[in-house]
Amino acid sequence: MSPDAAPRPLRVVLVGVVVPTRTALEIPVAALVARGAEVLALLHTLPEARVLTGLGLHGHRRLVLTRSSRAAATRSPVRRAVDAVSYRVLRLLDRRSSAAVRAFRAARRDPQTRAILRDADVLVALDRVAVYPVWRLARVGRTPAFYGIPAALRHLDDAAPARRHGAQERRTTGHAAGQGVSG
């Protein structure tokens, strides 16, 4: 990146376990976008399509346990077998786990979600249950993490003057992680 290049936008990742309402998201997300942030949502339970349409989100992804798409694409039978076994084990574990733990496991297992989180500048727990996965995920990347969008907005406002003097290069390279992803 040349020194004169514009700073990349801040990436804010919203994490929700309980189904969010449009009322709860509409104004805060618009405010995040107005501050130049790139906003992505990781939702354990997807709401109706009309809730997310037109909010200004740059993408969203569902936080549920899935078979690995990379393993499915590989020719290695060993890797496929490992994936199948781990998937079954996690399914069994999930039966006895809370939604918060299930959401965290799903986030940790999914490579695309991990890519989104790697580039996250701010993590936001949208509901009380989402605090645990956000707490765990924030510990991994030492990412600022907040409970509720209002606190994230204040953080962006406080961080804005510092960012004007140069933002860091995005860590992820290769295909743009999380851009236009869907569940």
């Binding site: 969010p20 107005a34 993590l123 727990a125």
Partner: protein, 1028 residues
């Protein structure tokens, strides 16, 4: 891009979007260059395909401006007619202009809501330009601002963006009063016409004076354009950087840094700039003349940064305070600039004339009327020509002498039309009109005239007219119609000089002419004497110097030197907290200040409110600046949003963590969440009292932990205390019973504290009665201090909007949505049913404004879900509203929904505000309810028989009918009913009682059943073991 290239681009599918985006800047450029036809080609085409409210609003505004630039309102009138047939700008479609401005103001509000300050400023500025376009205010027709009740600027001044523009910036301490030779910087924007006398006066007073002409060679182009200044005022970082750069430019930086006082003559862009860049240590004085009242710039100035405003006429003061809300008396009463009326000093030679003075007039002067400075539409020379016609009907020897520069070719079509009409009339008058160019020797020229006529549509002062009177002309002044409602010429000149019509003017002139020469000479000398006495430099300059370089510091006089009684007010929730209790606390503190008290408020760190309902900085504007606020570093741990700081237990089991935390909270004091604050509050308040002894301590729970503070401070310092209990503690306001027993820990605390209180205040009679019964021994100390609506906000809550059945009605709810989800669901179900039943309601909307949930759950709790689900039925949520935006919010609605929790103990604050709007109010609460007592007698109150879906459904239908059928008289009667619930009227009796008892007026007077009387703080002995 040329306009034809743009038209090609917009026809092409592949380039249309980009072309549409480029349309506004292209139109603005063409308009600046005066190429209006090209611009007019672009706008309608762009409007056809434009999408998005932002772009549509901007293009609509540009279309309005272009139309105003080009339109001649007198088109169609017979241009050859000698009589005045034009109706001026009145013929324009003013409603369309206001609609365009309203659309732009709404777009500004929307942009601001999501933090786009630059876009909001652009929209707001354009809206102001539409409403203050010169073709509407500077021609020969009445300006819409000339009528007090026109509400011409309401679409803009009631918008949230405009309100934000005039939030008071935090005051910075002024430096000590200037020394022997104050340094004064006189700033102009090119027009220094009235500064000569001022400069001479300042130099004569020993000031070191420097001039800074912002259009001169030293600083030309330095001040950013108004668009950038407006953006800076709304906090756009790039614009602020540009303004900062202009202030640090070497040409001006030293001047600004060294000045003790900066005086800006004319309220132009220079004043806006100065209000942004003048250092905090310097005083800033702005002088307004007349034309600025009809321009955009006074709306952009940061008036909270201005120390003094000088207006040159009382009629102008009245107009400006009416037009510019930031200068309204209600705003400047508590902080803001001091407003002075000081006329322009008129340089007059020689001693004041007396009755024996004779002016050397030429023979024709007895039949000659002069108009000095005539060649502008605002001077209305046609009116003077009509006076001449009247005079010549009686005596054809009458002449008109027009003194001053010739009429230049105006830029706008209406002004060109007016000029042509004037010149034709002058030509037709032949010898009866004589024109004399600009002269440096006015008295010599006026030897030809015996009379001087002020024919202007408006004047700030009329310096040239005064000079003519001083030169011996007999005065006849038109009652300037643009400012007639604000006092007119009668505010400046003696009533005998003022006339209202050409016929009346002619009659006065004929009467004067009929007098003997000696009488006329004596009358002229008397008139000249009046001018000398009122407007001569010797009379005016001391008053002006007192404003520009005051002898002493005003702050010193204000402090009272410690002789005033001192109130320490523990008010957790004091502004700028965006809590409903903040309004009562603000009013209470202000009322004590009004009664001569020094008030110190003890509250918590303002940023703690970010974790709850947030901040409303507009509330700080309404707090008397003499109130001292002490913020203790406390915040709610349970609302900490930083997830990384959570323990594993809190992250994994948040509900269990909260339960455990609440149990621990109650150890220091039996109140969850706030119990741990006890020690910090006690010590902090005690430190404040020790710093300056208090005559009275007032605590206002909740949080109830402040009760412990009252008791602690009394025990340690002997300070008497009063509890403003508001909703009480042991009364269950929602459940209508007892919240806890008298023998519980909370019950024992309550009894202990109330027993020692000098007085206890509640918000309504049922709660007061509860306490009188619970503590019979305290009955005489329990008082009711109701809530009310705030009338000192500078904006009238009365709603001017009238319902449009074709478009549907706008129902609104304003306040914290603290209903249970079941209650809210019932309301929404009733709304849905009513829409199915009523045709008008089917087109109507129901908007909720206010807080829905706090902290992390802001806008995301169960009630938010109920509102979201009802979106398809026209139910929306619009977010919280700053106190200063409340009037604007009500102004968009046709009827109000009063949904309240609780029953006979809950009054709620919003009911008072609702009534002050004069709108129909639908009750959606349990009956009986304390709000009923207040609403009883409100003529537009709709009261369903019960809280059921069917009853509320019928209530909605009835409310719609009342909204459509209510007459102006009904609304006025409704507002009259609300008038007695103004907040200060409710609180003042209790404050007066406390002032009487503790305000050092008569310390011996105490109630007989109260606790032992407390001596004034400074004479009170310290309790044992207490160091003072």
């Amino acid at each position: 891009m040329p306009a034809d290239a743009w038209l090609r681009a917009v026809e092409d599918d592949s380039t249309r979007t980009a072309a549409l985006r480029q349309a506004p800047p292209l139109v603005a450029r063409r308009r600046r260059e005066g190429r209006h036809p090209q611009a007019l080609d672009v706008v309608p085409r762009a409007l056809r395909d434009a999408r998005g409210t932002d772009l549509l609003a901007r293009l609509g505004g540009q279309q309005a401006l272009l139309t105003l630039d080009l339109a001649d309102p007198a088109d169609g009138a017979d241009p050859t007619a000698g009589a005045r047939t034009s109706t001026g700008a009145e013929g324009l479609d003013r409603a369309a202009r206001r609609d365009a401005a309203r659309t732009l103001a709404d777009a500004a509000d929307r942009a601001l809501a999501v933090g786009r300050a630059a876009a909001a400023a652009d929209h707001l500025l354009q809206a102001l330009h539409v409403l203050l376009h010169r073709s509407l205010h500077t021609l020969d027709a009445p300006s819409p601002l000339s009528r007090k009740d026109s509400g011409w600027l309401d679409p803009v001044t009631r918008s949230a963006a405009y309100t934000r523009l005039h939030l008071r910036t935090p005051g910075a301490p002024r430096t000590a009063a200037p020394g022997d030779r104050p340094r004064v910087l006189l700033v102009t924007d090119g027009n220094a016409h009235f500064l000569g006398e001022v400069e001479r006066g300042l130099v004569g007073a020993g000031a070191r004076v420097t001039r800074l002409d912002l259009t001169g060679p030293r600083a030309d182009g330095l001040v950013p354009v108004p668009a950038v200044l407006a953006r800076a005022r709304l906090g756009d970082p790039a614009a602020l950087a540009a303004v900062d750069a202009s202030a640090t430019a070497p040409e001006v930086a030293a001047l600004l840094r060294e000045a003790d006082t900066v005086v800006v003559d004319w309220c132009t862009a220079a004043a806006v700039w100065a209000s942004l860049v003048v250092p905090a240590g310097a005083r800033l004085v702005v002088r307004l003349h007349s034309i600025e009242a009809f321009s955009v710039e006074p709306h952009l100035v940061d008036w909270s940064r201005v120390d003094d405003v000088v207006l040159v006429g009382a009629q102008l003061e009245s107009l400006v305070r009416h037009v510019v809300p930031a200068l309204a008396p209600a705003r400047t009463r508590r902080g803001g600039p001091r407003v002075h009326v000081v006329p322009n000093p008129v340089a007059l030679d020689g001693p004041p004339p007396d009755g024996r003075t004779s002016f050397d007039k030429r023979p024709d002067a007895a039949r000659t009327v002069a108009v000095v400075g005539w060649a502008q539409p605002v001077k209305d020379p046609l009116w003077a020509l009509e006076v001449l016609d009247e005079l010549r009907q009686h005596d054809p020897r009458w002449r008109l002498l027009l003194v001053g520069a010739d009429y230049p070719e105006p830029q706008t079509a209406p002004a060109r039309r007016y000029r042509a009409q004037v010149l034709r009339r002058i030509e037709a008058a032949g010898d009866a009109v004589r024109r004399v160019g600009w002269t440096a020797d006015l008295p010599e020229v006026l030897r030809d005239a015996g009379y001087v006529l002020s024919s202007s549509r408006r004047e700030s002062h009329g310096v040239a007219f005064c000079e003519a009177v001083a030169a011996g002309c007999l005065p006849v002044a038109r009652d300037w119609p643009d400012v007639a409602e604000f006092g007119g010429a009668g505010e400046v000149f003696p009533a005998g000089w003022v006339v209202r019509s050409p016929r009346e003017a002619a009659a006065r002139l004929l009467a004067l002419a009929a007098e003997p020469d000696a009488v006329r000479a004596r009358t002229a000398a008397d008139a000249a004497g009046v001018v000398h006495a009122r407007y001569g430099t010797a009379a005016v300059m001391p008053r002006l110097l007192e404003v520009l370089v005051p002898a002493g510091s005003a702050d010193g006089a204000r402090s009272g030197g410690g002789t005033r009684p001192h109130l320490v007010y523990v008010a957790i929730g004091f502004p700028p907290a965006a809590k409903s209790s903040a309004y009562r606390m603000r009013a209470t503190a202000n009322l004590f200040v009004d009664r001569g008290w020094d008030v110190t408020v003890v509250t918590i760190d303002r940023h703690a409110w970010d974790l709850e309902y947030g901040l409303d900085l507009s509330l700080l504007d309404l707090v008397d600046p003499r109130v001292r606020i002490v913020e203790l570093p406390l915040r709610r741990a349970d609302l900490d949003p930083d997830v990384r700081g959570y323990s594993w237990f809190r992250a994994k089991y948040p509900a269990r963590w909260v339960r455990l935390r609440h149990r621990l909270d109650t150890i220091p004091f039996p109140e969850k969440v706030f119990g741990p604050w006890r020690r910090a509050l006690e010590r902090g308040t005690e430190a404040v009292v020790r710093d300056r002894p208090a005559d009275l301590l007032l605590v206002s729970p909740a949080p109830y932990t402040t009760l412990a503070v009252a008791r602690h401070v009394r025990r340690r310092t002997g300070t008497p205390y009063v509890v403003d209990f508001r909703d009480g503690w042991s009364v269950d306001v929602l459940g209508a019973g007892e919240a806890f027993g008298a023998r519980t820990r909370r019950g024992r605390w309550e009894r202990r504290v109330l027993t020692g209180a000098e007085a206890v205040c509640t918000v309504n009679e049922p709660i007061a009665e509860f306490y009188r019964q619970r503590y019979p021994e305290l009955a005489s100390r329990v008082h009711v201090a109701r809530n009310g609506f705030d009338a000192d906000l500078g904006t009238d809550l009365a709603v001017a909007r009238r319902p449009d059945p074709a478009a549907g009605l706008a129902f609104g709810y304003l306040g914290t949505v603290n209903l249970t989800p079941a209650h809210l669901s019932l309301v929404v179900d009733a709304w849905t049913a009513a829409r199915a039943q009523d045709e008008v309601l089917a087109r109507s909307t129901l908007t909720f404004r206010g807080h829905v949930g706090a902290g992390w759950a802001a806008g995301a709790n169960g009630n938010a879900a109920v509102i979201a689900r009802a979106g398809v039925h026209g139910v929306t949520y619009g977010g919280p509203v700053a106190k200063a935006d409340v009037a604007a919010t009500y102004g968009r609605w046709d009827a109000l929904l009063l949904a309240l929790a609780g029953g006979r103990f809950v009054t709620s604050g919003k009911v008072y505000e609702y009534m002050a709007t004069g709108l129909p109010v639908l009750s959606a609460h349990e009956m009986p309810h304390a709000a009923q007592d207040v609403l009883e007698g409100y003529p537009l109150w709709v009261r369903p028989p019960g809280l059921t879906v069917e009853a509320l459904r019928d209530g909605f239908v009835e409310t719609a009918r009342r909204a459509l059928s209510a007459s102006e008289e009904d609304r006025a009667a409704a507002r009259d009913h609300a008038g007695r619930f103004e907040r200060s009227l409710q609180l003042d009796p209790v404050v007066a009682m406390l002032d009487e008892r503790f305000g050092r007026r008569d310390p011996a007077r105490r109630t007989e059943d109260g606790p032992a009387p407390a001596a004034p703080a400074d004479r009170r002995p310290a309790p044992a073991g207490v160091r003072r």
